[in-house]
Symmetry: C2
Subunit: 254 residues, 2 copies
């Protein structure tokens, strides 16, 4: 097993570039950090190119992750781990994965979550995790949203990228395809005159729910493509709900 | 109006100490940042001791916040704002507020949210904001949770501290009081043999819902005080829901 001690090593410098969306796009891969997420990747047969573990992690690896990825493993120093980590207390395990190229499945059906211009990585990751928990078919994210493959999104989505397709694409053509090919009802979350309290809405079996930007909501162009808009009543004095909370309430009730 | 240019000024040094829970406790006050939150504080007649605004903010104050707080206002330099801010791009407005001493109202009724050992400030603030939106009576937080008066919690709760009582106290005596004085049904979120799917549960009019730590859930001592435990079914492959999402789904459905 190779041992890398210096954070100035060229391969470490390349890995550090995976901290940006540009670096990930250029290299076609992303970095996954932490024991639990690497375990999820393994269990779901994700394509793990390399594994980097500290000497300390090597000595205590209760889930035998290194054994399963022995040929791809490089031992690193604590200094290298500190260089690669996005956390304050790194667990000492990092995997390099192929950036998935996901497209719509050929047989479209079920329930979908569509996200437009979501800016907060925590909100984005949490909504994907909730879509997974609620049994949705997949998530489609507009390209002007936060990048899915950054560490904060990964921490919030807790491995859900291995459970359901996550597609980054312009929403308008996707919405048309979901309507035409699968006859999905497109649900928006814009408050207009026709908007309905979600508690009184009888949802069809198949739908796509669109959640918009934290401050601005849906764009007008996207709002025009919805079949029905829903709202969540505010009973107290709060002006609005956090977008991930609203998405959670809607995905679970519809 | 006084002008403070140097971040090394003694009063600025004291304000900086409000970034820690210890500093806030010692000084009995906390710092609120941003135009929207200061406006919320004003609208809700919170006790604003001082206001600090940059020269740039003074020149463009569309909501006339400074006018309403003129006697308490100090003009500060951008350098001071950079020293005080918890954000990357400060808006140039900071208010110093009295740390509220909130106790249970004498007439207990309605719906309450109880939080035990919540560690993530974003989760804590979002749950308080959702409790506000859902029309709950108040929130009680165990002392070993994240501190409510830190900036990350304030950004997530969006002024909800001005809308409903937020009480930091040991949960066990509070739960006993809510049961004995108000006859509230105590709902937990522990998965035990008697736990019920929340969708099949007929909630009474008055209840207290307890949400536990992100990783560990409720402590055993607290779990023993619940009248009914509820769970949210996981239909996909996700192992769990984010605690704030789970709280949102439950508060809105019960």
């Amino acid at each position: 097993m190779q041992y890398l001690a210096s954070p100035k090593n060229n391969s470490i410098k390349e890995l550090k570039k995976l901290a940006t969306a540009r670096g990930r796009r250029r290299q076609g891969r992303y970095l996954l950090e932490g024991e639990h997420l690497v375990e999820e990747a393994l269990q779901n047969h994700a394509e793990i190119q390399q594994l980097y573990v500290t000497t300390k992690f090597l000595q205590h690896d209760p889930k035998h992750l290194v054994k399963q990825l022995f040929d791809q493993t490089t031992e690193i120093s604590e200094a290298v781990a500190q260089e690669l980590t996005a956390t304050v207390h790194p667990q000492g395990i990092f995997a390099v994965l192929t950036l998935p190229q996901v497209t719509l499945p050929s047989e479209l059906h079920g329930k979908w979550l569509l996200l437009e211009r979501i800016q907060d990585p925590g909100n984005l990751g949490t909504m994907i995790r909730t879509a997974d928990a609620a049994g949705l078919q997949g998530v489609i994210i507009s390209p002007d949203s936060a990048d899915v493959w950054q560490s904060k999104v990964q921490r919030a989505m807790q491995g859900s990228q291995f459970h359901l397709p996550i597609i980054t694409a312009e929403l308008a053509p996707m919405i048309r395809q979901l309507k035409q090919e699968a006859n999905l009802t497109i649900l928006g979350t814009l408050v207009d005159a026709q908007a309905q309290d979600y508690q009184n809405y009888q949802a069809p079996a198949d739908w796509a729910l669109i959640m918009g930007n934290e401050a601005g909501g849906l764009t007008e162009a996207t709002a025009q493509l919805t079949d029905q808009n829903l709202y969540i009543p505010l009973r107290g004095q709060a002006e609005s709900l956090n977008v991930a909370i609203a998405a959670g309430i809607l995905m679970y009730s519809l």
